[in-house]
Amino acid sequence: MAKILIIDDDPDLIESMRVVLESKGYEVISAESGEEGLEKQKKQKPDLIVLDVMMPKMDGFETARAIKKTGNNTPVLMLTAIKDKMGLDFKNSAGDPDWLPVDDYCEKPLDKGSLIAKIEKLLSSS
């Protein structure tokens, strides 16, 4: 079964997601900061990364760019409370200052159903 890396500074949220994802049979590893996440994705080679935007020090934007810069094409699913209806314009081309190389995003508070659906979709297309 696929291995999923969750990068989020909120350990409680990680735990709640772990329960859900493990119940679906996924293997879950986690990191509580962008830096730690970068390390873990290098070493443990997850099949998908769930990444939070708002994190102290290295935020989700930076982490996503850093991951993609290494040439890694692991799909990234972003968790965000700020890309709400206001429309944060995610740009998809490298070099753009707003460049955000993520494949999909989920809004907080998380809807379990859509989280799983998005994960399944990304995994099946990669």
Binding site: M17, G87, K108, P109, L110, K112
Partner: protein, 443 residues
Amino acid sequence: MEKIKSENYLINERIRWFIKLRWLAILGIVGAVYIADKIIAIPLPALRLYGVAVFLVIYNTFFSFLVFKPQAKTSKGLVWTNSIAHAQIALDLLSLAFLIHFSGGIENPFIFYFIFHMIIASILLSRRGAFLQATYAIFLFLFLVFLEYQGYIAHYCLKPVVPYCLHKETFYIFSVSVVFISTLYIAVYMASSISKQLKERERNLEKANKLLNEKDRIKSEYVLRVTHDIKEDLSTIQSCIEPVTEGITGQLNEKQLNLLQRAKKRSKSLIFYVNALLGITKMKLDKKFKTENFSFPQLIQDITENITPRARNKNIEFTVDVDSSIQRIEGVRVYIQESILNILANAIKYTPKGGKVSLKLTDKENSFLIKIEDNGIGIPEDELEYVFDEFYRAQNAREQEKLGTGLGLAIAKQVIERHKGKIWVESKKGEGTIFYIELPKQI
């Protein structure tokens, strides 16, 4: 800069008022000359008096053109506005001197009409400027009296109103002049003192207003931060409760499930509340308001799809009527959608089962009118004025529905006003409510 601009704006407003007043004065002059000439039959040079009126018409037209031009409001500075005010008052005083000359000179009680201009000068000009105009008026008056006294120019007697010609009565001239001069200076002194105080108060009010706005902004930023933090925690709470209620962590007994479901429901309603508060606060702080051009019927379609199931659940007849001529609208789609949704959701919520809710969109000449009508519980008359206030919920609404943010209508009002539109409500308790939204076609 801001201060000068607004002061300039105020003076400009007053100059406009002054010009309108002058049109009335011209009518008054023509009327008075006509009565004096035709009805009282005072032997006056009526043609020359009408001539002065024509002169007034000419320069008032000129100043109207200068001041009422659309760009005149903002493009010129304080110096320019001041010069216009000075020029108008000076021309008025000159015209008045001519009018007085042609209608009896020192005998004419209308000489005291000079006071009006002293008051206007005190309002429009600086104190120094007003005294300058007073001195100029006095000079005109004395010069006129002197020329008539010496016989350099003609004197038109006011017989039969004043039985004797007075223009050579030295003592009379002296006493009238003393009273005249002192009256003008005292009038300017008093009026400009009051005007100065008023100007100061205006400035203070403006300052206070700025301060209030700043404080309001700080408050909003604070609310934004707090709600954002609360939302983070709430989201996590919800994410933790959910898998347990759904049995992912193992079967729960009925009592456990019951309590957990209550906790879940309450955290959900709190998230809804926090989201509403976040939305309205963000909008308040959002300086740039990026509008887009979108299909209005499509938006109504989306709204209808959202509302129809809720209406069906309560067996409410929900009808939608959109003028076929309506195509696109300029605005922020998500905001407008949320506003209409909020009102419709309320309509459904506060209309009993089997009731009616309708949404009607009409094409007006320069705007779109959205009418949302229900035959629900209505809003008590004495509470109508508060329903758009933040956190306000009408008594009967609270009785019926314990949960509610009191923010839906406040958000709608904020949205509509940011679009330069209007929102208002008509309601009768027990009979129903109609909300109207008018959105201009051009923002």
